[in-house]
C-alpha cells in the first residue's frame, strides 16, 4: 500500500461519511456513521501497523502544490506524535457515537442525523490537523474544526448551550486570528529569504532572527494556549463542558484540545526553537498556575461536568510543563500524557454522562449519593476512571505524570514542588466527588449500566490498565519523535533512553 495516499484516504473516509449521513434518515444515519467511523479506525490501525516504522521522522508523506501564488502545499505526513493523535481520535469517535446513540434524539436536541454528520466532519478535520505538514493547510483545518464543534455544542446539550457555543467560538476564533498574524509572519520571512513557501520542512530550514521569532512565537503560543486551554484563557472550557453533551465534551477535551499541545510541540518548538527557550520561564509558571488553579477550582464545583472540565485544565498544565522543560522525560511524558489524558478523561466524561442521564441533574448536591448500592458497575467504573485521572499507580496516567514531575524537578526544584501538590489536590477532587455522589446510607433506585454503555467504557478501561503496566509500545513510538524535537530545539539531552534513572543525576545544569 505504499503508493496509496494513505492519509488522504484517512481524512476522506469520515468526510465522505459526514456528507452521506447528512442525507440519510436518522436511524440509518447512526449505523452508517458508525460504519464510517469504524472503517476509519480500521484504516488507521492497518496503516500504523503496516506502513509506519519506528525510526522517527515524517512518514507516509504526500506533497502536492495547492496555491502556487502563495507557496501553499497540500502536504500530509505523520510522526510519532501525529500517529498517536490520529489513533486516539479514530478510537474515540466510534465510542462517542455509540455512547450518544439515543441522546441526540432527545427532545430539544438537533437529532441524530445532524449529530453524526457533525461528529464525522469534526473527526475528518481533526485528522487533517494532526497530519498536516504545511502551515497554511494546518491553519485552514485548525479553523475548520471550529465549525462542526460550534454546531455540536450549540445544537445538542443542556439549556444555555447557545451561549456556551458562542463563547467557545469567540475564544477559539480570537486565538486563530492571532495565529493568522504569525502564519503571515512566517510567509513574509520565507518570502524574504527566497521563494515563499509554507512547507514545514522549508520553514524549519529558515534562519529567523530572534526578535521576529519571538513575535511569531507569541501568536502561535496564544492560539495554542487558548486551545489547550491554559490559565488565564481557559474560561470557555468549563462553560462548554457544562452545557454540551458528554459525547461532544469528549471530542472537545480529548481530541480537539490536544491540538493546542500538539501545535506547541510541532510549531513552537519545531519552527521557533530559540523563542521557545526564551519564553520558557513564563510558560512554565503559567503551566504551574494551570495545574494548581485548575485542581483547586475543580474541588469547589457543584456540577459534575464542570468539575471534569476543570480537571483537564490541571492536566493540560502538566502536558505544557512537560513540553517546555526541554528534556526527553518531559517530552515523552507530555506526549504520553496527551494519550492517557484522552483515554482517562473520555471514560470519566462518559460515565458521568450516564450518571447525569439517570439522575436528571448534574448537580452533586442534588444527586445526594447512594448510587453505589443500586448501580455497582457504574460506581466502579466511575471510581477507576477517577483514580486514573488522579494518577493512581497501575493505571496509565501515572506513568506520564511521573515522567513530567521528574522532568520538572530536573528543570527547577520549585517547579517540581508545585507540580507535585496537584497529586494531592487531584485525590481530593476525585475522592470527594465519588464520596458525595456514589456512597451514602440511602439506596437510590437507579438502573445500572446496560450492555451498550459498558461496551463503550470497556475498551477505555482496558487501555487504562494495559498502558499502566506496559507503556512501552507507546513510548517506542514517542521517543524517536521527542529526540527529533529536542535536536531541533538544540538541547543536548542526557539519557538517551527514558527510564534509565541513573542518567538523571548528571543532568543538573545541563540546560536552563
Amino acid at each position: 500500500m505504499n503508493d496509496l495516499p494513505v492519509l488522504t484516504i484517512l481524512i476522506a473516509l469520515p468526510l465522505v461519511g459526514a456528507l452521506v449521513t447528512a442525507f440519510l434518515p436518522a436511524a440509518t444515519a447512526r449505523l452508517a456513521g458508525l460504519g464510517f467511523a469504524g472503517a476509519t479506525l480500521v484504516w488507521a490501525v492497518v496503516a500504523a501497523l503496516t506502513s509506519y516504522s519506528l525510526d522517527g521522522g515524517m512518514q507516509l508523506t504526500e506533497t502536492h502544490t495547492w496555491i502556487e501564488a502563495l507557496g501553499v502545499h497540500y502536504a500530509l505526513g505523520v510522526d510519532g506524535l501525529g500517529l498517536l493523535m490520529v489513533l486516539l481520535t479514530t478510537v474515540l469517535v466510534p465510542i462517542v457515537l455509540v455512547a450518544s446513540w439515543h441522546e441526540a434524539d432527545a427532545p430539544g436536541n438537533g437529532g441524530s442525523r445532524a449529530f453524526v454528520a457533525w461528529v464525522l466532519a469534526l473527526e475528518a478535520m481533526s485528522l487533517a490537523v494532526f497530519t498536516a505538514t504545511d502551515v497554511f493547510l494546518f491553519y485552514v483545518v485548525f479553523e475548520a474544526t471550529l465549525i462542526p464543534a460550534y454546531f455540536l455544542i450549540g445544537g445538542f446539550g443542556r439549556e444555555g448551550r447557545g451561549r456556551a457555543a458562542t463563547k467557545f467560538l469567540i475564544y477559539q476564533l480570537a486565538g486563530g486570528l492571532v495565529m493568522l498574524a504569525s502564519v503571515i509572519g512566517l510567509y513574509v520571512v520565507s518570502a524574504d529569504s527566497g521563494r515563499p513557501s509554507f512547507l514545514l520542512t522549508d520553514l524549519a530550514a529558515l534562519d529567523i532572527d530572534p526578535v521576529t521569532q519571538r513575535w511569531i512565537f507569541l501568536g502561535f503560543f496564544i492560539a495554542f494556549a487558548i486551545k489547550a486551554p491554559m490559565f488565564p484563557v481557559h474560561t470557555w472550557l468549563a462553560d462548554t463542558t457544562e452545557r454540551a453533551t458528554t459525547g461532544t465534551s469528549v471530542l472537545l477535551v480529548c481530541v480537539l484540545d490536544k491540538i493546542g499541545t500538539f501545535g506547541m510541540l510541532r510549531f513552537c518548538l519545531g519552527l521557533l526553537p530559540d523563542a521557545s527557550q526564551w519564553a520558557t520561564p513564563v510558560v512554565v509558571v503559567l503551566a504551574l498556575i494551570s495545574i494548581v488553579y485548575g485542581a483547586l477550582v475543580a474541588i469547589g464545583q457543584d456540577d459534575v461536568l464542570r468539575l471534569i472540565g476543570l480537571t483537564s485544565l490541571s492536566h493540560f498544565g502538566f502536558i505544557v510543563l512537560g513540553i517546555f522543560v526541554f528534556s526527553s522525560q518531559g517530552g515523552s511524558g507530555a506526549i504520553l500524557y496527551m494519550v492517557n489524558h484522552g483515554i482517562a478523561t473520555a471514560a470519566l466524561f462518559l460515565v458521568a454522562g450516564y450518571l447525569v442521564q439517570r439522575r436528571g441533574t448534574a448537580s452533586i448536591r442534588a444527586m445526594g449519593g447512594g448510587i453505589e448500592k443500586g448501580a455497582p458497575v457504574l460506581a466502579g467504573i466511575f471510581l477507576i476512571s477517577g483514580l486514573a485521572a488522579c494518577g493512581l499507580p497501575g493505571l496509565s496516567p501515572f506513568v506520564s505524570e511521573m515522567l513530567v514531575i521528574i522532568a520538572a524537578f530536573q528543570h527547577a526544584w520549585w517547579a517540581g514542588a508545585v507540580a507535585v501538590t496537584a497529586i494531592v489536590l487531584a485525590a481530593i477532587y476525585v475522592l470527594w466527588l465519588y464520596q458525595r455522589t456514589m456512597t451514602g446510607p440511602e439506596q437510590v433506585e437507579v438502573k445500572d449500566l446496560d450492555r451498550r454503555e459498558v461496551g463503550t467504557l470497556a475498551p477505555l478501561m482496558l487501555a487504562l490498565v494495559l498502558f499502566g503496566f506496559f507503556p512501552m509500545p507507546l513510548l517506542d513510538v514517542i521517543n524517536p519523535n521527542v529526540e527529533d524535537t529536542l535536536t531541533q530545539v538544540g538541547v543536548t539531552d542526557e539519557p538517551p533512553t527514558v527510564g534509565s534513572a541513573d542518567g538523571a543525576a548528571s543532568s543538573q545544569g545541563g540546560h536552563e
Binding site: W66, I67, E68, A69, L70, G71, Y139, V140, V141, F142, E143, A144, L146, I147, Y150, F151, G154, G155, R161, G162, A165, T166, L169, I170, L173, A174, L177, V178, L180, A181, V183, I184, G185, Y187, V188, A191, D192, S193, G194, R195, P196, W215
Partner: protein, 530 residues
C-alpha cells in the same frame, strides 16, 4: 494658442465602455417609446445583453493586449492618454461587469413581492397619498432603473480606468448620480429610502467638492492633469510641496468617502438600510470595486513616488476604519445596517492591502504584490456581499423584508438552506478558512506585513476578532435562538435571485478552496501603465 488635434479613439480597446454607455442611452429611448407592458422585458434583456457583450469585449481585449517588460504590465493608453486600458483596468472591468450582471438579475426579481419589483411604482407620487395607492393598485413599475444601472456601471468602468484627474472626476460623478437616484426608489418604507437618498446626495456632493478642490491644487502643483506628468513632477520635487500634500489630502477625502472609510463612513449604514436591497447589493459590491480601482491608480501611479507622504495617513485611516466598522457593527440590530458596518470594516482591510505597496525590487520572486492582493480581495468581497444582500431580500414578513435581527431568530429551522447559505457568506466575511474571505484576508495582511506595517496588521487582527463576534451573533440567532412570534418566512425567489445567490456562494467557495487561478490572473494583470 495650441492647435486642436483630433484625438484618435481606440475603438477596440474602449468597446466595453462604449457598449455599456450605448445601451444605457438606448434604455432611455426604450423608456420613451416602448409601450409600458413591453418595457420590463425589453429593458432587462437590453441590460443583460449589453453587459454580456461588454464582458466578452473585456475578455477579447485582455487576450490581445500588448505586453511590456516580460509581462510586468500590459495594455494601452487610449483617448490621447486619458483612459488607461491596462491589466488592472481589465480585471476591474471584468469584475464590475459580472457583479453588474448579477445586480441586474436582482433588479429584475419580481417573485418576492407579489409580482412587482422592489422599486417604487411611481417615484413622483408622495408617500401615503392617493396617487401612490393608485400606482400600487395598477401594478406600476419603474423600468428606468435599468438605464440608471447601466449609467452607474459606465461610471464604475470609467472611474478606475481614468488616467487623468478630470476624467477621474467625470467617472466619479457618472457613477454616483444614478446611485443617488436609485437609492430613493424603494417600494416599501419610502420615507426611509428618500431620506437615505438625500443624505447620500448631500454628503456625496460635498465630498465631490473636496475631490474637485484637490484636483485644482494638484494641477497647481504639477501643471498637468495627467497622472504620468504628476508623477514626473513629484519625482523632480521642484514646486510647492504643501500644494501637493493638501491636494493629496483633498483627493483622499473624496475617495475615502466613496469607499466608506472612517471618518467618512457616516452615510454607509443609512444608505445601505434605506436603499432597495437589490440596489444595496449592487452598490455595495460595485462602488467599492470601482473606487478602490481608482484609488489604487491615483496613489500608485500619480503619487507613487511620494509614498512616504501618504502611507502614514493610510495607516491611520485603515486602523480607524477597521475598528470603527467592527465596533459599531456589534451594536447594530438591523441586518442591513450590520452588513453596512461590516462593509466599512472591509474597507479598512482593503486599505491595509493598499498601503502594503513596495518597490518591485523589494519583492521576492513569486511574492504577492499589493495590487494583486487588493484586486483579489475586491473579488472575494464583491461576491460575498452581493450574495449576502440577495439573501436578505428573501427573508420577509407581512411588512416586506424583515431586516430586524430579532426577526431572524429561528431561521435555521424555517429554512435550513437559506440560513446555511447566509451563514456561509457571514463566515466568508469573518475570514474563516475554506471561504474566499480567508484567502483575501491572508493576501492583504501579507502584503501589509511585508511592507513593515505590523501595527496595522495587529489592529486588523483585533478588528477581525471583534467582527467575528458579530457574525457569530447572527449565526447564533439563526440557529440557536427561539423565533419571536410567528418567526420569519422565506419567500421563494425566481430563478434570477436564486442564480445570483448560487453564483455568490459558488465563487466564495471556489476562491476559498482553489484561489490559485484568480491570484494568477491578478498577477497576470501586472502593474499599472502610465
Amino acid at each position: 494658442m495650441n492647435e486642436f488635434i483630433k484625438p484618435t479613439v481606440e475603438y477596440f480597446e474602449l468597446w466595453p465602455l462604449l457598449v455599456v454607455f450605448g445601451v444605457a442611452c438606448l434604455g432611455v429611448v426604450v423608456e420613451a417609446f416602448a409601450p409600458r407592458s413591453a418595457r420590463y422585458v425589453a429593458q432587462v434583456l437590453l441590460a443583460l445583453g449589453g453587459l454580456g457583450a461588454a464582458l466578452v469585449g473585456v475578455v477579447l481585449i485582455a487576450r490581445d493586449s500588448e505586453v511590456y517588460a516580460d509581462g510586468a504590465a500590459r495594455g494601452v493608453l487610449a483617448m490621447s492618454g486619458t483612459i488607461a486600458v491596462d491589466g488592472p483596468t481589465l480585471f476591474i472591468w471584468g469584475l464590475v461587469l459580472v457583479l453588474a450582471i448579477a445586480g441586474t438579475m436582482l433588479f429584475a426579481e419580481r417573485h418576492l413581492d407579489g409580482g412587482v419589483s422592489a422599486f417604487a411604482g411611481q417615484a413622483a407620487a408622495l408617500p401615503g397619498t392617493e396617487a401612490e395607492r393608485e400606482a400600487s393598485t395598477r401594478g406600476l413599475d419603474h423600468t428606468e432603473v435599468y438605464p440608471l444601472l447601466m449609467f452607474a456601471v459606465f461610471g464604475m468602468m470609467l472611474f478606475p480606468a481614468a488616467n487623468d484627474l478630470l476624467t477621474m472626476f467625470v467617472g466619479l460623478e457618472v457613477l454616483s448620480l444614478p446611485l443617488y437616484l436609485l437609492t430613493g426608489l424603494a417600494r416599501r418604507r419610502r420615507l426611509l429610502s428618500q431620506e437615505a437618498a438625500l443624505k447620500y446626495f448631500l454628503l456625496g456632493a460635498f465630498s465631490s467638492g473636496f475631490f474637485l478642490y484637490g484636483v485644482a491644487l494638484v494641477y497647481g502643483y504639477a501643471g498637468s492633469m495627467q497622472f504620468a506628468a504628476i508623477n514626473e513632477a513629484v519625482r523632480n520635487d521642484t514646486a510647492n510641496q504643501s500644494l501637493l500634500l493638501i491636494g493629496i489630502g483633498m483627493l483622499s477625502v473624496g475617495l475615502f468617502f466613496k469607499v466608506g472609510a472612517a471618518p467618512f463612513q457616516a452615510w454607509t449604514p443609512d444608505v445601505y438600510q434605506g436603499a432597495p436591497t437589490p440596489v444595496t447589493a449592487f452598490m455595495a459590491a460595485g462602488t467599492k470595486v470601482a473606487a478602490f480601482g481608482a484609488m489604487l491608480r491615483l496613489f500608485y501611479v500619480a503619487f507613487g513616488a511620494d509614498r512616504w507622504s501618504w502611507q502614514p495617513m493610510m495607516w491611520v485611516i485603515a486602523i480607524l476604519t477597521m475598528l470603527v466598522g467592527a465596533v459599531l457593527a456589534v451594536t447594530q440590530t438591523d441586518i442591513k445596517r450590520l452588513l453596512a458596518y461590516s462593509s466599512v470594516a472591509h474597507t479598512g482591510f482593503l486599505l491595509t492591502g493598499v498601503l502594503g505597496v513596495q518597490q518591485t525590487s523589494a519583492l521576492a520572486d513569486g511574492e504577492l504584490t499589493a495590487l494583486q492582493a487588493v484586486l483579489f480581495y475586491l473579488a472575494t468581497y464583491g461576491f460575498a456581499t452581493l450574495g449576502a444582500f440577495a439573501v436578505v431580500s428573501l427573508v420577509r414578513d407581512s411588512g416586506g423584508e424583515a431586516t430586524a435581527l430579532s426577526r431572524w431568530a429561528g431561521l435555521g429551522k424555517e429554512s435550513p438552506i437559506v440560513a446555511g447559505v447566509f451563514a456561509f457568506f457571514l463566515l466568508a466575511m469573518a475570514g474563516i478558512p475554506l471561504t474566499s474571505g480567508f484567502v483575501g484576508k491572508l493576501a492583504v495582511f501579507s502584503v501589509a506585513l511585508a511592507a513593515g506595517a505590523w501595527p496595522v496588521v495587529i489592529a486588523a487582527v483585533v478588528a477581525s476578532v471583534i467582527a467575528a463576534f458579530l457574525y457569530i451573533r447572527v449565526i447564533k440567532a439563526m440557529y440557536f435562538d427561539e423565533p419571536v412570534g410567528e418567526g420569519p418566512t422565506v419567500a421563494y425567489p425566481s430563478v434570477l435571485t436564486a442564480t445570483t445567490i448560487a453564483l455568490g456562494a459558488a465563487v466564495t467557495l471556489m476562491l476559498g478552496i482553489l484561489p490559485g487561478p484568480l491570484l494568477d490572473l491578478a498577477a497576470l494583470a501586472g502593474e499599472f501603465i502610465r
